[in-house]
Amino acid sequence: MNEVISGCIGLAAVLVLFLTGIELAFSMLLVGFLGFAYLTSFEAAMHLVAKDLFEVFASYGYTVFPIFILMGQIAFNSGIAKRLYDSAYTFIGHIPGGLAMATVGGATAFKALCGSAAATAATFASVAIPEMDRYHYSKKISTGIVATVGTLGCMIPPSVFLIIFGIITEQSIGKLFLAGIIPGLFIAVTFLATIYVWGRKNPALAPAGERSTWRARFLSLPEVVVVLAIFVLMIVGLMRGFFTPTEAGSVGTAAVALLVLLRRQLKFRGYVKAVSDSMRTACMMLMLIGGSAVLGHFIAITNIPQIMADWVVALPLNRNIIMVIICLIYILGGSFIDDLAFMILATPIFFPAVLKLGFDPIWFCIMIGVTQMIGVVIPPVAINVFIVTNITKVPMSVIYSGVYPFLAGIILFGALLFLFPQLALFLPHYFMP
Protein backbone atom coordinates (compact mmCIF):
# COMPACT_ATOMS: atom_id res chain seq x y z
CA MET A 1 0.00 0.00 0.00
CA ASN A 2 1.54 3.34 -0.99
CA GLU A 3 1.82 6.41 1.24
CA VAL A 4 -1.10 8.31 -0.26
CA ILE A 5 -3.54 5.42 0.12
CA SER A 6 -2.45 4.83 3.71
CA GLY A 7 -2.89 8.57 4.39
CA CYS A 8 -6.41 8.54 2.94
CA ILE A 9 -7.28 5.43 4.95
CA GLY A 10 -5.87 7.15 8.03
CA LEU A 11 -8.04 10.26 7.55
CA ALA A 12 -11.12 8.11 7.01
CA ALA A 13 -10.20 6.08 10.11
CA VAL A 14 -10.12 9.24 12.25
CA LEU A 15 -13.70 10.02 11.28
CA VAL A 16 -14.90 6.43 11.71
CA LEU A 17 -13.21 6.15 15.11
CA PHE A 18 -14.78 9.46 16.14
CA LEU A 19 -18.23 7.98 15.48
CA THR A 20 -17.51 5.24 18.02
CA GLY A 21 -17.60 7.82 20.82
CA ILE A 22 -13.85 8.05 21.36
CA GLU A 23 -12.52 11.55 21.97
CA LEU A 24 -11.46 13.24 18.71
CA ALA A 25 -8.02 14.10 20.09
CA PHE A 26 -7.46 10.47 21.09
CA SER A 27 -8.52 9.21 17.66
CA MET A 28 -6.11 11.62 15.95
CA LEU A 29 -3.30 10.49 18.26
CA LEU A 30 -4.07 6.84 17.64
CA VAL A 31 -4.33 7.08 13.86
CA GLY A 32 -1.29 9.35 13.64
CA PHE A 33 0.69 6.90 15.74
CA LEU A 34 -0.40 3.77 13.84
CA GLY A 35 0.06 5.44 10.44
CA PHE A 36 3.52 6.73 11.30
CA ALA A 37 4.45 3.31 12.70
CA TYR A 38 3.24 1.65 9.48
CA LEU A 39 5.24 3.97 7.21
CA THR A 40 8.39 4.23 9.35
CA SER A 41 8.84 2.08 12.44
CA PHE A 42 7.08 1.35 15.71
CA GLU A 43 9.98 2.82 17.72
CA ALA A 44 9.98 6.05 15.71
CA ALA A 45 6.20 6.40 16.08
CA MET A 46 6.32 5.92 19.86
CA HIS A 47 8.99 8.58 20.14
CA LEU A 48 7.09 10.93 17.80
CA VAL A 49 3.84 10.79 19.80
CA ALA A 50 5.60 11.40 23.11
CA LYS A 51 7.77 14.20 21.71
CA ASP A 52 4.89 15.98 19.95
CA LEU A 53 2.68 15.93 23.04
CA PHE A 54 5.50 17.00 25.35
CA GLU A 55 6.41 19.88 23.03
CA VAL A 56 2.81 21.08 22.80
CA PHE A 57 2.29 20.88 26.56
CA ALA A 58 5.56 22.54 27.61
CA SER A 59 5.68 25.29 25.00
CA TYR A 60 5.78 29.02 25.72
CA GLY A 61 3.57 29.79 22.69
CA TYR A 62 0.71 27.56 23.78
CA THR A 63 0.41 29.10 27.26
CA VAL A 64 -1.58 31.82 25.50
CA PHE A 65 -4.68 29.57 25.48
CA PRO A 66 -5.44 29.17 29.20
CA ILE A 67 -4.54 32.83 29.76
CA PHE A 68 -6.89 34.36 27.19
CA ILE A 69 -9.65 31.91 28.10
CA LEU A 70 -9.20 32.83 31.77
CA MET A 71 -9.70 36.50 30.96
CA GLY A 72 -13.06 35.67 29.37
CA GLN A 73 -14.01 33.41 32.29
CA ILE A 74 -13.26 36.13 34.85
CA ALA A 75 -15.33 38.60 32.83
CA PHE A 76 -18.08 35.97 32.60
CA ASN A 77 -18.10 35.19 36.33
CA SER A 78 -17.90 38.79 37.55
CA GLY A 79 -20.94 40.27 35.84
CA ILE A 80 -19.08 42.51 33.38
CA ALA A 81 -21.33 41.24 30.58
CA LYS A 82 -24.43 42.34 32.46
CA ARG A 83 -23.07 45.86 32.95
CA LEU A 84 -22.04 46.15 29.30
CA TYR A 85 -25.51 45.03 28.29
CA ASP A 86 -27.09 47.53 30.69
CA SER A 87 -24.94 50.30 29.25
CA ALA A 88 -25.98 49.48 25.68
CA TYR A 89 -29.59 49.23 26.86
CA THR A 90 -29.59 52.76 28.30
CA PHE A 91 -28.69 54.13 24.86
CA ILE A 92 -30.89 52.08 22.53
CA GLY A 93 -33.33 50.13 24.71
CA HIS A 94 -36.18 52.57 23.98
CA ILE A 95 -36.37 51.96 20.24
CA PRO A 96 -38.24 49.00 18.70
CA GLY A 97 -35.88 46.03 18.76
CA GLY A 98 -33.66 48.04 21.13
CA LEU A 99 -33.12 45.26 23.67
CA ALA A 100 -31.98 42.89 20.95
CA MET A 101 -29.71 45.65 19.61
CA ALA A 102 -28.37 46.19 23.12
CA THR A 103 -27.54 42.48 23.15
CA VAL A 104 -25.45 42.97 20.01
CA GLY A 105 -23.76 46.07 21.48
CA GLY A 106 -23.09 44.43 24.86
CA ALA A 107 -21.83 41.20 23.32
CA THR A 108 -19.54 43.05 20.90
CA ALA A 109 -17.98 44.94 23.81
CA PHE A 110 -17.83 41.78 25.94
CA LYS A 111 -16.09 40.04 23.05
CA ALA A 112 -13.16 42.38 23.58
CA LEU A 113 -12.40 40.32 26.69
CA CYS A 114 -13.82 36.90 25.91
CA GLY A 115 -12.44 34.75 23.08
CA SER A 116 -15.07 32.06 22.98
CA ALA A 117 -18.25 31.94 20.88
CA ALA A 118 -19.84 29.45 23.27
CA ALA A 119 -19.04 31.52 26.39
CA THR A 120 -20.44 34.67 24.78
CA ALA A 121 -23.68 32.87 23.86
CA ALA A 122 -23.95 31.34 27.36
CA THR A 123 -23.38 34.71 29.03
CA PHE A 124 -25.98 36.60 27.03
CA ALA A 125 -28.51 33.77 27.22
CA SER A 126 -28.54 34.38 30.99
CA VAL A 127 -28.25 38.17 30.83
CA ALA A 128 -30.32 39.36 27.86
CA ILE A 129 -33.08 36.80 27.29
CA PRO A 130 -34.84 37.33 30.67
CA GLU A 131 -34.83 41.07 29.96
CA MET A 132 -36.30 40.56 26.48
CA ASP A 133 -38.89 38.16 27.96
CA ARG A 134 -39.96 40.93 30.34
CA TYR A 135 -40.81 43.12 27.33
CA HIS A 136 -42.57 40.24 25.55
CA TYR A 137 -40.04 39.86 22.76
CA SER A 138 -40.67 37.03 20.33
CA LYS A 139 -38.65 33.99 21.40
CA LYS A 140 -37.52 33.70 17.81
CA ILE A 141 -35.75 37.06 17.94
CA SER A 142 -34.46 36.87 21.51
CA THR A 143 -32.96 33.38 21.31
CA GLY A 144 -31.94 33.78 17.66
CA ILE A 145 -29.86 36.89 18.30
CA VAL A 146 -28.23 35.48 21.45
CA ALA A 147 -27.19 32.27 19.65
CA THR A 148 -25.90 34.27 16.68
CA VAL A 149 -24.18 37.10 18.52
CA GLY A 150 -21.90 34.53 20.18
CA THR A 151 -20.43 33.84 16.75
CA LEU A 152 -18.63 37.19 16.96
CA GLY A 153 -16.37 35.27 19.34
CA CYS A 154 -14.73 33.68 16.29
CA MET A 155 -13.81 37.00 14.76
CA ILE A 156 -13.33 39.88 17.19
CA PRO A 157 -9.99 39.59 19.02
CA PRO A 158 -8.84 38.02 21.30
CA SER A 159 -10.45 35.10 19.48
CA VAL A 160 -9.34 31.58 20.40
CA PHE A 161 -10.04 30.57 16.82
CA LEU A 162 -7.63 33.20 15.47
CA ILE A 163 -4.94 32.14 17.97
CA ILE A 164 -5.21 28.46 16.99
CA PHE A 165 -5.19 29.31 13.29
CA GLY A 166 -2.17 31.55 13.78
CA ILE A 167 -0.25 28.81 15.60
CA ILE A 168 -0.98 25.97 13.19
CA THR A 169 -0.25 28.05 10.08
CA GLU A 170 2.61 30.06 11.64
CA GLN A 171 0.95 33.43 10.98
CA SER A 172 1.33 36.48 13.21
CA ILE A 173 -1.38 36.44 15.88
CA GLY A 174 -1.18 40.24 16.10
CA LYS A 175 -1.98 40.53 12.37
CA LEU A 176 -4.82 38.05 12.68
CA PHE A 177 -6.28 39.98 15.62
CA LEU A 178 -6.17 43.20 13.60
CA ALA A 179 -7.67 41.43 10.58
CA GLY A 180 -10.64 40.28 12.67
CA ILE A 181 -11.69 43.73 13.89
CA ILE A 182 -13.39 45.21 10.79
CA PRO A 183 -15.14 41.93 9.82
CA GLY A 184 -16.37 41.47 13.40
CA LEU A 185 -17.74 45.00 13.63
CA PHE A 186 -19.22 44.79 10.11
CA ILE A 187 -21.08 41.59 10.97
CA ALA A 188 -22.29 43.15 14.23
CA VAL A 189 -23.73 46.02 12.15
CA THR A 190 -25.53 43.53 9.87
CA PHE A 191 -27.07 42.00 13.03
CA LEU A 192 -28.28 45.46 14.10
CA ALA A 193 -29.71 46.11 10.64
CA THR A 194 -31.51 42.75 10.67
CA ILE A 195 -33.10 43.52 14.04
CA TYR A 196 -34.09 47.00 12.87
CA VAL A 197 -35.78 45.73 9.71
CA TRP A 198 -37.44 42.84 11.57
CA GLY A 199 -38.70 45.19 14.30
CA ARG A 200 -39.98 47.72 11.72
CA LYS A 201 -41.89 45.05 9.81
CA ASN A 202 -43.56 43.69 12.93
CA PRO A 203 -43.14 45.92 16.01
CA ALA A 204 -45.08 43.43 18.19
CA LEU A 205 -42.17 40.96 17.85
CA ALA A 206 -39.65 43.36 19.42
CA PRO A 207 -41.36 46.12 21.45
CA ALA A 208 -39.50 49.16 22.71
CA GLY A 209 -38.21 49.30 26.30
CA GLU A 210 -38.16 52.28 28.64
CA ARG A 211 -36.21 55.41 27.69
CA SER A 212 -33.22 56.07 29.97
CA THR A 213 -32.11 59.49 31.13
CA TRP A 214 -28.85 61.00 29.83
CA ARG A 215 -27.55 60.83 33.38
CA ALA A 216 -28.10 57.04 33.44
CA ARG A 217 -26.42 56.78 30.06
CA PHE A 218 -23.31 58.66 31.17
CA LEU A 219 -23.16 56.75 34.46
CA SER A 220 -23.08 53.47 32.54
CA LEU A 221 -20.17 54.52 30.34
CA PRO A 222 -17.16 53.88 32.63
CA GLU A 223 -17.60 50.10 32.31
CA VAL A 224 -17.42 50.34 28.52
CA VAL A 225 -14.42 52.68 28.70
CA VAL A 226 -12.51 50.34 31.03
CA VAL A 227 -13.17 47.29 28.85
CA LEU A 228 -12.14 49.17 25.71
CA ALA A 229 -9.01 50.49 27.46
CA ILE A 230 -7.91 46.93 28.33
CA PHE A 231 -8.68 45.80 24.78
CA VAL A 232 -6.72 48.67 23.22
CA LEU A 233 -3.79 48.08 25.61
CA MET A 234 -3.56 44.43 24.50
CA ILE A 235 -3.99 45.09 20.79
CA VAL A 236 -1.63 48.07 20.64
CA GLY A 237 0.94 46.19 22.73
CA LEU A 238 0.79 43.26 20.29
CA MET A 239 0.80 45.53 17.26
CA ARG A 240 3.83 47.51 18.39
CA GLY A 241 5.69 44.33 19.22
CA PHE A 242 5.85 45.31 22.87
CA PHE A 243 3.95 42.17 23.96
CA THR A 244 4.03 38.56 22.86
CA PRO A 245 0.49 37.09 22.72
CA THR A 246 1.13 35.40 26.08
CA GLU A 247 2.16 38.73 27.61
CA ALA A 248 -0.83 40.54 26.08
CA GLY A 249 -3.13 37.89 27.54
CA SER A 250 -1.44 38.04 30.95
CA VAL A 251 -1.63 41.84 31.13
CA GLY A 252 -5.29 41.80 30.02
CA THR A 253 -6.20 39.01 32.45
CA ALA A 254 -4.39 40.69 35.34
CA ALA A 255 -6.11 44.02 34.53
CA VAL A 256 -9.58 42.43 34.43
CA ALA A 257 -8.88 40.42 37.61
CA LEU A 258 -7.60 43.49 39.42
CA LEU A 259 -10.59 45.52 38.31
CA VAL A 260 -13.19 43.02 39.50
CA LEU A 261 -11.30 42.23 42.72
CA LEU A 262 -11.05 45.92 43.65
CA ARG A 263 -14.77 46.35 42.97
CA ARG A 264 -15.47 43.14 44.94
CA GLN A 265 -17.31 41.72 41.94
CA LEU A 266 -15.48 38.41 42.07
CA LYS A 267 -14.93 36.27 45.14
CA PHE A 268 -12.11 33.76 45.59
CA ARG A 269 -14.50 30.94 44.80
CA GLY A 270 -15.45 32.65 41.53
CA TYR A 271 -11.78 33.02 40.61
CA VAL A 272 -11.16 29.33 41.31
CA LYS A 273 -14.10 28.38 39.11
CA ALA A 274 -12.85 30.68 36.34
CA VAL A 275 -9.35 29.15 36.52
CA SER A 276 -10.69 25.60 36.56
CA ASP A 277 -13.05 26.15 33.61
CA SER A 278 -10.41 27.92 31.55
CA MET A 279 -7.79 25.22 32.15
CA ARG A 280 -10.25 22.52 31.14
CA THR A 281 -11.13 24.29 27.90
CA ALA A 282 -7.44 24.96 27.18
CA CYS A 283 -6.60 21.32 27.85
CA MET A 284 -9.31 20.19 25.46
CA MET A 285 -7.87 22.49 22.76
CA LEU A 286 -4.25 21.57 23.38
CA MET A 287 -5.04 17.85 23.28
CA LEU A 288 -6.65 18.49 19.89
CA ILE A 289 -3.58 20.40 18.77
CA GLY A 290 -1.30 17.63 20.10
CA GLY A 291 -3.41 15.04 18.26
CA SER A 292 -3.31 17.16 15.13
CA ALA A 293 0.49 17.51 15.41
CA VAL A 294 0.91 13.72 15.51
CA LEU A 295 -1.62 13.16 12.73
CA GLY A 296 0.01 16.00 10.79
CA HIS A 297 3.41 14.30 10.94
CA PHE A 298 1.86 11.11 9.59
CA ILE A 299 -0.02 12.99 6.84
CA ALA A 300 3.15 14.95 5.98
CA ILE A 301 5.12 11.79 5.19
CA THR A 302 2.27 10.58 2.99
CA ASN A 303 2.78 13.75 0.89
CA ILE A 304 -1.00 14.29 0.85
CA PRO A 305 -0.82 18.09 1.50
CA GLN A 306 1.66 18.51 -1.36
CA ILE A 307 -0.27 16.28 -3.73
CA MET A 308 -3.51 17.97 -2.72
CA ALA A 309 -1.96 21.40 -3.36
CA ASP A 310 -0.69 20.36 -6.81
CA TRP A 311 -4.01 18.75 -7.67
CA VAL A 312 -6.06 21.75 -6.58
CA VAL A 313 -3.85 24.18 -8.53
CA ALA A 314 -4.16 22.00 -11.64
CA LEU A 315 -7.96 21.93 -11.48
CA PRO A 316 -9.56 23.55 -14.55
CA LEU A 317 -11.53 25.93 -12.33
CA ASN A 318 -11.28 29.57 -11.38
CA ARG A 319 -9.34 29.90 -8.11
CA ASN A 320 -12.28 31.72 -6.49
CA ILE A 321 -14.56 28.78 -7.21
CA ILE A 322 -11.98 26.48 -5.63
CA MET A 323 -11.95 28.74 -2.56
CA VAL A 324 -15.76 28.60 -2.37
CA ILE A 325 -15.54 24.79 -2.47
CA ILE A 326 -12.91 24.81 0.29
CA CYS A 327 -15.15 27.05 2.43
CA LEU A 328 -18.11 24.74 1.82
CA ILE A 329 -15.97 21.77 2.91
CA TYR A 330 -15.17 23.61 6.15
CA ILE A 331 -18.86 24.38 6.74
CA LEU A 332 -19.93 20.82 5.93
CA GLY A 333 -17.11 19.18 7.92
CA GLY A 334 -17.65 21.52 10.85
CA SER A 335 -21.35 20.71 10.82
CA PHE A 336 -20.68 17.06 11.50
CA ILE A 337 -17.68 17.21 13.84
CA ASP A 338 -17.01 20.36 15.82
CA ASP A 339 -16.11 23.48 13.84
CA LEU A 340 -12.92 24.21 15.76
CA ALA A 341 -11.85 20.55 15.68
CA PHE A 342 -12.50 20.30 11.94
CA MET A 343 -10.51 23.48 11.37
CA ILE A 344 -7.56 21.96 13.27
CA LEU A 345 -7.89 18.75 11.27
CA ALA A 346 -8.39 20.26 7.81
CA THR A 347 -6.19 23.37 7.78
CA PRO A 348 -2.81 21.58 7.50
CA ILE A 349 -4.21 19.76 4.46
CA PHE A 350 -5.78 22.75 2.67
CA PHE A 351 -3.38 25.52 3.69
CA PRO A 352 -0.55 24.64 1.25
CA ALA A 353 -3.10 24.55 -1.59
CA VAL A 354 -4.47 27.95 -0.58
CA LEU A 355 -0.96 29.43 -0.62
CA LYS A 356 -0.26 27.86 -4.01
CA LEU A 357 -3.43 29.40 -5.38
CA GLY A 358 -2.03 32.78 -4.37
CA PHE A 359 -4.51 33.71 -1.61
CA ASP A 360 -3.36 35.79 1.31
CA PRO A 361 -3.05 33.55 4.41
CA ILE A 362 -4.48 36.24 6.73
CA TRP A 363 -7.47 36.72 4.42
CA PHE A 364 -7.95 32.94 4.26
CA CYS A 365 -8.04 32.78 8.06
CA ILE A 366 -10.79 35.39 8.23
CA MET A 367 -12.68 33.59 5.47
CA ILE A 368 -12.49 30.36 7.48
CA GLY A 369 -13.56 32.40 10.52
CA VAL A 370 -16.73 33.28 8.61
CA THR A 371 -17.35 29.57 7.94
CA GLN A 372 -16.82 28.93 11.68
CA MET A 373 -19.41 31.59 12.50
CA ILE A 374 -21.89 29.86 10.20
CA GLY A 375 -20.93 26.41 11.49
CA VAL A 376 -21.64 27.11 15.16
CA VAL A 377 -25.28 28.01 14.46
CA ILE A 378 -26.35 25.54 11.76
CA PRO A 379 -27.44 21.93 12.35
CA PRO A 380 -26.60 19.19 13.09
CA VAL A 381 -23.76 20.29 15.46
CA ALA A 382 -24.71 23.88 16.33
CA ILE A 383 -22.96 24.38 19.64
CA ASN A 384 -24.35 27.89 20.24
CA VAL A 385 -27.92 26.74 19.64
CA PHE A 386 -27.38 23.80 22.02
CA ILE A 387 -26.17 26.21 24.71
CA VAL A 388 -29.09 28.61 24.32
CA THR A 389 -31.63 25.80 24.31
CA ASN A 390 -30.03 24.31 27.45
CA ILE A 391 -30.20 27.60 29.33
CA THR A 392 -33.58 28.85 28.13
CA LYS A 393 -35.39 25.54 27.47
CA VAL A 394 -36.70 27.05 24.22
CA PRO A 395 -37.08 24.36 21.51
CA MET A 396 -34.20 24.23 19.04
CA SER A 397 -36.58 24.63 16.08
CA VAL A 398 -37.61 28.07 17.41
CA ILE A 399 -33.98 29.12 17.92
CA TYR A 400 -33.01 27.94 14.43
CA SER A 401 -35.87 29.92 12.88
CA GLY A 402 -34.56 32.99 14.73
CA VAL A 403 -30.97 32.36 13.70
CA TYR A 404 -31.52 32.18 9.92
CA PRO A 405 -32.24 35.91 9.30
CA PHE A 406 -29.00 36.80 11.11
CA LEU A 407 -27.13 34.14 9.19
CA ALA A 408 -27.93 36.11 6.04
CA GLY A 409 -25.75 38.95 7.36
CA ILE A 410 -22.79 36.62 7.93
CA ILE A 411 -23.15 35.10 4.45
CA LEU A 412 -23.44 38.59 2.93
CA PHE A 413 -20.23 39.59 4.66
CA GLY A 414 -18.52 36.40 3.43
CA ALA A 415 -19.44 37.38 -0.13
CA LEU A 416 -18.18 40.95 0.39
CA LEU A 417 -14.93 39.63 1.84
CA PHE A 418 -14.44 37.65 -1.34
CA LEU A 419 -14.88 40.75 -3.45
CA PHE A 420 -13.00 43.12 -1.14
CA PRO A 421 -10.19 41.31 0.72
CA GLN A 422 -9.13 44.70 2.09
CA LEU A 423 -12.00 44.45 4.59
CA ALA A 424 -9.77 42.02 6.45
CA LEU A 425 -6.34 43.07 5.23
CA PHE A 426 -6.51 46.85 5.60
CA LEU A 427 -5.72 47.05 9.34
CA PRO A 428 -2.88 44.47 9.38
CA HIS A 429 -1.32 46.03 6.25
CA TYR A 430 -1.64 49.54 7.64
CA PHE A 431 -0.42 48.90 11.19
CA MET A 432 1.90 45.90 10.73
CA PRO A 433 3.25 46.18 7.15
Binding site: T20, I22, L29, A58, Y60, I67, V272, C283
Partner: protein, 164 residues
Protein backbone atom coordinates in the same frame (compact mmCIF):
# COMPACT_ATOMS: atom_id res chain seq x y z
CA UNK B 1 -14.63 0.10 43.87
CA UNK B 2 -16.23 3.30 45.20
CA UNK B 3 -13.22 4.01 47.39
CA UNK B 4 -10.87 3.56 44.43
CA UNK B 5 -12.93 5.90 42.25
CA UNK B 6 -13.10 8.43 45.07
CA UNK B 7 -9.31 8.32 45.55
CA UNK B 8 -8.58 8.83 41.86
CA UNK B 9 -11.11 11.66 41.72
CA UNK B 10 -9.39 13.35 44.68
CA UNK B 11 -6.00 12.94 42.97
CA UNK B 12 -7.30 14.59 39.78
CA UNK B 13 -8.70 17.46 41.86
CA UNK B 14 -5.37 17.98 43.67
CA UNK B 15 -3.61 17.97 40.31
CA UNK B 16 -6.13 20.52 39.09
CA UNK B 17 -5.26 22.76 42.05
CA UNK B 18 -1.54 22.51 41.25
CA UNK B 19 -2.30 23.44 37.63
CA UNK B 20 -4.39 26.42 38.78
CA UNK B 21 -1.58 27.70 41.00
CA UNK B 22 0.85 27.32 38.08
CA UNK B 23 -1.47 29.29 35.78
CA UNK B 24 -1.81 32.13 38.29
CA UNK B 25 1.97 32.09 38.73
CA UNK B 26 2.49 32.37 34.94
CA UNK B 27 0.23 35.41 34.76
CA UNK B 28 1.81 37.17 37.74
CA UNK B 29 5.36 36.43 36.57
CA UNK B 30 4.63 37.62 33.03
CA UNK B 31 2.99 40.84 34.23
CA UNK B 32 5.93 41.52 36.59
CA UNK B 33 8.31 40.96 33.68
CA UNK B 34 6.35 43.33 31.41
CA UNK B 35 6.28 46.05 34.08
CA UNK B 36 9.96 45.64 34.99
CA UNK B 37 10.92 45.54 31.32
CA UNK B 38 9.15 48.87 30.84
CA UNK B 39 11.26 50.17 33.72
CA UNK B 40 14.43 48.86 32.09
CA UNK B 41 15.17 45.80 34.22
CA UNK B 42 13.39 42.70 32.90
CA UNK B 43 13.37 39.37 34.73
CA UNK B 44 15.73 37.03 32.91
CA UNK B 45 14.58 33.59 31.79
CA UNK B 46 10.85 34.31 32.02
CA UNK B 47 10.07 32.57 28.71
CA UNK B 48 11.61 29.32 29.87
CA UNK B 49 9.95 29.42 33.30
CA UNK B 50 6.58 30.12 31.63
CA UNK B 51 7.08 27.25 29.15
CA UNK B 52 7.88 24.86 32.00
CA UNK B 53 4.96 26.09 34.11
CA UNK B 54 2.75 25.75 31.00
CA UNK B 55 3.67 22.06 30.94
CA UNK B 56 2.48 21.79 34.54
CA UNK B 57 -0.77 23.65 33.79
CA UNK B 58 -1.86 21.55 30.83
CA UNK B 59 -0.32 18.27 32.01
CA UNK B 60 -1.84 18.41 35.47
CA UNK B 61 -5.29 19.38 34.26
CA UNK B 62 -5.42 16.57 31.68
CA UNK B 63 -6.66 13.79 34.04
CA UNK B 64 -9.42 15.99 35.49
CA UNK B 65 -10.53 17.06 32.00
CA UNK B 66 -10.90 13.39 31.09
CA UNK B 67 -12.64 12.63 34.39
CA UNK B 68 -15.40 15.11 33.49
CA UNK B 69 -15.28 14.04 29.80
CA UNK B 70 -14.17 17.52 28.85
CA UNK B 71 -12.72 16.51 25.47
CA UNK B 72 -14.69 16.73 22.25
CA UNK B 73 -16.46 13.49 21.46
CA UNK B 74 -19.59 12.51 19.57
CA UNK B 75 -21.96 9.83 20.75
CA UNK B 76 -25.09 10.37 18.66
CA UNK B 77 -24.27 7.24 16.67
CA UNK B 78 -23.65 4.90 19.60
CA UNK B 79 -26.56 6.46 21.53
CA UNK B 80 -28.80 4.69 19.01
CA UNK B 81 -27.42 1.29 20.01
CA UNK B 82 -28.77 -0.92 22.77
CA UNK B 83 -27.41 -0.31 26.27
CA UNK B 84 -25.22 -3.42 26.11
CA UNK B 85 -23.76 -2.56 22.72
CA UNK B 86 -23.12 1.04 23.81
CA UNK B 87 -21.30 -0.17 26.92
CA UNK B 88 -19.23 -2.54 24.79
CA UNK B 89 -18.24 0.36 22.52
CA UNK B 90 -17.43 2.59 25.49
CA UNK B 91 -15.30 -0.10 27.13
CA UNK B 92 -13.47 -0.77 23.86
CA UNK B 93 -12.67 2.94 23.33
CA UNK B 94 -11.50 3.29 26.96
CA UNK B 95 -9.23 0.22 26.52
CA UNK B 96 -7.72 1.79 23.39
CA UNK B 97 -7.18 5.02 25.34
CA UNK B 98 -5.53 3.21 28.25
CA UNK B 99 -3.08 1.42 25.95
CA UNK B 100 -2.35 4.63 24.06
CA UNK B 101 -1.68 6.78 27.13
CA UNK B 102 0.32 4.12 28.95
CA UNK B 103 2.55 3.98 25.88
CA UNK B 104 2.75 7.79 25.71
CA UNK B 105 3.47 8.01 29.43
CA UNK B 106 6.31 5.50 29.15
CA UNK B 107 7.83 7.30 26.18
CA UNK B 108 7.60 10.76 27.77
CA UNK B 109 9.27 9.20 30.82
CA UNK B 110 12.04 7.97 28.49
CA UNK B 111 12.39 11.53 27.13
CA UNK B 112 12.79 12.72 30.74
CA UNK B 113 15.36 10.03 31.43
CA UNK B 114 17.30 11.08 28.36
CA UNK B 115 17.14 14.77 29.34
CA UNK B 116 18.37 13.77 32.80
CA UNK B 117 21.24 11.66 31.54
CA UNK B 118 22.60 14.37 29.22
CA UNK B 119 21.96 17.11 31.82
CA UNK B 120 19.83 19.14 29.39
CA UNK B 121 19.04 22.56 30.86
CA UNK B 122 17.24 25.72 29.75
CA UNK B 123 19.46 28.25 27.90
CA UNK B 124 19.23 31.25 30.26
CA UNK B 125 18.61 30.04 33.80
CA UNK B 126 20.07 26.57 33.24
CA UNK B 127 17.08 24.92 34.88
CA UNK B 128 16.93 21.14 34.42
CA UNK B 129 14.22 20.09 31.94
CA UNK B 130 13.76 16.51 33.07
CA UNK B 131 11.40 17.18 36.03
CA UNK B 132 8.80 18.62 33.66
CA UNK B 133 9.07 15.58 31.38
CA UNK B 134 8.69 13.25 34.37
CA UNK B 135 5.72 15.33 35.56
CA UNK B 136 4.00 15.16 32.16
CA UNK B 137 4.69 11.39 32.01
CA UNK B 138 3.04 11.03 35.43
CA UNK B 139 0.02 13.01 34.19
CA UNK B 140 -0.44 10.68 31.22
CA UNK B 141 -0.19 7.72 33.57
CA UNK B 142 -2.93 9.18 35.77
CA UNK B 143 -4.95 9.86 32.61
CA UNK B 144 -4.83 6.16 31.75
CA UNK B 145 -5.97 5.36 35.31
CA UNK B 146 -8.86 7.80 34.81
CA UNK B 147 -9.80 5.92 31.63
CA UNK B 148 -9.69 2.69 33.64
CA UNK B 149 -12.06 4.36 36.13
CA UNK B 150 -14.37 5.06 33.18
CA UNK B 151 -14.60 1.29 32.63
CA UNK B 152 -15.54 0.84 36.28
CA UNK B 153 -18.15 3.58 35.89
CA UNK B 154 -19.53 1.95 32.73
CA UNK B 155 -19.96 -1.36 34.54
CA UNK B 156 -21.51 0.51 37.47
CA UNK B 157 -23.85 2.45 35.15
CA UNK B 158 -22.62 5.97 36.02
CA UNK B 159 -20.64 6.86 32.89
CA UNK B 160 -21.53 9.74 30.54
CA UNK B 161 -21.77 13.51 30.20
CA UNK B 162 -19.06 15.79 28.95
CA UNK B 163 -18.49 18.00 25.99
CA UNK B 164 -19.99 16.66 22.83
Amino acid sequence: MKAFLHTIHRITIYMNVIAGVALTFIILLTVCDVVLRALGSPISGVYEIVAMAGGIVIGFVTPFTSWVRGHIFMDFVIERLSRGAKSAFDIATRCVGIALFLMISWNVFKIGKNLHSVDEVTPTLELPLYPIAYGVAFCFFVLSVVLFCDILKITGGSFGGGHE
